[in-house]
Homo-oligomer: 195 residues x 4
DNA sequence: GATGAATGAGTATTCATTCAT
DNA sequence: CATGAATGAATACTCATTCAT
């Protein structure tokens, strides 16, 4: 972002922009997503848009970031509190599905239409590092002292498999299907308990 | 595609266009991918391009289709010939990894930058149907007569999980890592053998 | 220029653009000079404009270049043919005044409003080098073997003084005044004949 | 200017703005010269800027005016005190060169990039009138009662020739070269003493 | 008087696509 | 069939200027 909104007036402006953008992206897709249209929908002048966002991409990134923050928040809490492993899996899967259920249309656009920044799925990225660290802790807590591959290798495979199942279900609009949740849980448990 | 290339000269033209497009997409990314540039790189006039492709999207789809055909081919053969289940998994995973290793740069672009047609991951799409059917057969062959979720539900989860692991590894450039293959095999086996 | 106009159709296009630009610059000044307006006035689409000119500045440069070519042409011929010095001066001054009389409004805009390229009055520039060389020859032919400053130093002062007199007269619209010509000739002769 | 700064605080504000503007123009050129940037560099809000300057052009004019005032000051004193003609020329040329040596980068921008007001080199303009009057007096004092063109015609030619030599030297960065000064003096003397 | 958030008209430039030759 | 000159709708982004606080 070009400039941090300090006063409450500007905070509202930024909020309105992000919300309008989410709506437009959801409803019209990437093709209908123009900075002028976003500003208008937000009830804000195009000039105000560029006070806070240096360009078009940075708005997409801001939206993506909010989603990533949600995911990270879930990961941080899902591992807390010494629950039994079975519960751990159910909570994690449930949370991730819940997060991706908020704006179903948005995810398809974000995944398949909007261009991604360089940092997307880049292991050097700060978010990716912390996200993976959460998974690593979670894996360590789950598997106990069983042998085999490193926590990190398992964390990556697990994270990517869940990512694939959840995102593709979101694309198909079947994220609410109970079968998806049940089977995903079964998948995770089976993998975690294998040798 | 606008018209099927019947003569051999036409076939060569189409081939040249698709190859040039693949190269440009790989090297310059979606941003550098313009129809005029593709035509020039293919040694063809822009007018000729539009003889064979009705628009820009159809070229992307043609490229994607080649990849999907590869995947389908693998799925068709991977399930053949009454191999033992353990072998079945190894062959499948190995083939999918091999397919995605051909143009590493291209996949990242296709996944994260290029827009997808409506048919992408659409269950109504002919490719999706056949692809899923392969998985279903494969699942049926593997699991035997165990109870639980339907073959279809399992096939979808499995396909999506593999998709997630393989595509994210391709994005990171770690597709050749042996840990990816080993763990992916373990994931599939564990899931297939669970209750 | 982005691309040389090879066919006669495209040559006409480029010509129409440059002419329309000259007219607009002359009539509306730099403020009214937009690429879209130029294209429209030239009876050409904005797309055609950008086939031949990479940006807005390059069109200004093209116009300036034509003027510089005129000046250079004059300098090349003004020194030819062993005329007596007195005649030399009169021909030179007359030609320069004539060149600047073609589009009186244009010069004021080009000088005082339009941005100049890096090469403007840059001694490293090819045009500047050749232009100065002409002046040097001319000075050498005029002064004979008199001592004093180098031909080059004299050429620069002379060129700059003429430049100042002619351009300021053009700005004021007094270029046609016979006093300007008479006195400029007197200035040049006096300088050339001084010790 | 919108209003004369009467209090000392206001004077300081105006001063800070003009100085910041000079610096920015010098360092970043006309392209980097924006009212917001100038205000920020001056440590003043953009709102305050518009208290003192009605628009952007007036700031440029203020900067130019300071330079013109310098020139006029020089002209006023250069002609005083019954010096011998030879001394007169040397003082005049020396002063003009000195004035243009203060901000070399600024002059190139002011001459070649910044747009000029309608008053620029406009004979109706008060500055132009007074400046020319100085030159006329100076010419009259120098030439004595020799015949020929009017004092005014000579004054214009002289002023423009000096303008050309000095400004072009400033553009090239050769204003400090002693040859420029020597030859310019020689040019003026030769012209004044001819016929 | 001072502030700085907000404004919005204005413009250069791209690139998929057409069609006369 | 091939060519490539021409098209023009569409859009990101700037920056001088205003005015509510």
């Amino acid at each position: 972002m070009r400039k941090a909104p300090s006063q409450s007036r500007s905070k509202a402006t930024v909020e309105a922009i992000v919300e309008a953008a989410t709506r437009i992206l959801s409803d019209l897709g990437w093709a209908g997503f123009t900075t002028n249209k976003v500003a208008e929908a937000a009830g804000v002048s195009i000039g105000s848009y560029y006070q806070y966002f240096p360009d078009k991409l940075s708005l997409i990134e801001a939206i993506r970031q909010r989603h990533l923050d949600d995911c990270l928040g879930t990961m941080r809490t899902a591992g807390e509190g010494g629950k039994p492993p079975a519960q751990l899996v159910e909570d994690l899967v449930g949370s991730i599905i819940a997060i991706h259920s908020h704006h179903p249309g948005l995810h398809r656009v974000l995944l398949d239409e909007a261009p991604s920044a360089e940092t997307f799925r880049n292991p050097e990225d700060a978010f990716e590092k912390e996200y993976l660290a959460c998974y690593r802790n979670w894996v360590a807590a789950y598997r106990g002292s069983r042998g085999g591959a490193s926590d990190e290798a398992i964390a990556i495979i697990l994270s990517d498999a869940i990512d694939g199942v959840v995102h593709n279900a979101a694309r198909r609009g079947t994220l609410q299907s109970s079968a998806v949740k049940t089977e995903l849980i079964r998948l995770v448990r089976a993998y975690m308990e294998s040798s």
